[in-house]
Symmetry: C2
Subunit: 221 residues, 2 copies
């Protein structure tokens, strides 16, 4: 492979390929249900046939790609039902995680949440100011970081992993909303402020309600 530096970004070729393809799926460059032919992908992204297969296997585990025996891979479809299902799973996992974090979280956890909220505020200003793919990705990453921070004190690595997985599956929908200018940044801002207060006050009911509103808005429901 002719991409020079490898150490700084991702360790292995497979990880690099996964990162790039993941991004293209998120941005819709690779569209839902699109057939992913190994050789065609190699032309676009490089890598050997084996590396590409392994990459698709990984993405398949993340739910971004579907593998069918003897029939190869395709981008996971994105139907109305999928959207509903992802919404359900995000609600359930993140609410559970937040509930447990509220019960168990220490000051360090609060700090992580406050920090993530702050970073998100900046990212939202940025993406509104100069909307492009770069700021969109930064914004999405800040959202992801907040979601992770909120549940980071839940004490369950598996729950965190699940939440992350479903967040990843929701990314396509969120970025589409953003592209279409259907993100209500004002509403988000007030929710974020209220969420910080609720969390610092350990007001579970309010915090959970705000989280739910946020996730629903996040997906356009």
């Amino acid at each position: 492979m002719i991409f020079g530096r490898r150490k700084s970004e991702d360790d292995t070729v497979v990880d690099m390929l996964a990162a790039v393809i993941r991004r293209d799926i998120s941005f819709g460059v690779l569209r839902p249900d699109q057939k992913l032919k190994i050789d065609a992908l190699r032309q676009s992204y490089g890598g050997s046939n084996h590396s590409m297969r392994e990459t698709l296997r990984m993405l398949s585990a993340e739910g971004l790609v579907e593998a069918t025996s003897q029939r190869g891979f395709r981008v996971t479809s994105a139907t109305e039902d999928d959207l509903r299902d992802i919404l359900l799973m995000r609600l359930e996992t993140e609410r559970l995680g937040l509930r447990r974090s509220l019960a168990a979280g220490d000051v360090a956890w609060e700090s992580r949440v406050v920090a993530a909220l702050h970073a998100l505020t900046r990212a939202e200003a940025q993406v509104q100011d100069t909307p492009d793919d770069v700021t969109a990705l930064a914004w999405d990453e800040a959202c992801r970081a907040l979601a992770e921070a909120l549940i980071s004190a839940c004490g369950s690595p598996r729950l965190i992993e699940m939440a992350d997985k479903f967040y990843g599956q929701s990314r396509r929908f969120r970025l589409a909303l953003l592209r279409e200018g259907r993100v209500d940044f004002a509403g988000r801002r007030t929710r974020q402020d209220q969420l910080r207060e609720a969390i610092l006050a350990r007001d579970e009911q309010t915090a959970l309600r705000l989280l739910e509103e946020d996730i629903r808005a996040d997906i356009g429901r």
Copy 2:
């Protein structure tokens, strides 16, 4: 086509390898934290290096194996914390799935549950009568089938997949309990009977309580 050996299974090599290694992990032949060296595995199980790598990637997605960049694969450890975490996830996913199934399930769902309960009864008799690896696997499969049937009307493919994943992770612990003769079959039987009644009566609270008891007992807690 007509002559020529038709493989009974349409499985690919990778799927077959995964099945065998999965089983060996469940039975503890491959022990927690054990390093999984590609070449060594190939000697035991066959397959090319790529097939083996792909297999381990799959198992890694299932949570049975852990992959570390540049450092290969090892069997996921099985600490007290892991057990607790798996228990938590099984409780949350299966309870949620059952709750939704109870709300949405039709007669076909009830039938599936009753059928699974019946099959399980037989499998439990069998494994008590002649305890060996074969009946143990059949028993476990019947348990898994029941767990799946219970949530099969929840309407969320992702929830089902998730529950299946965590059931798979709990398998090592359940089979260990069985091997040590610490499975309370009498208690299970009464719970199963009560569970059938509760489900047919759509008594959510009772059903959920029984499910929780069952899962806790299942893992030895």
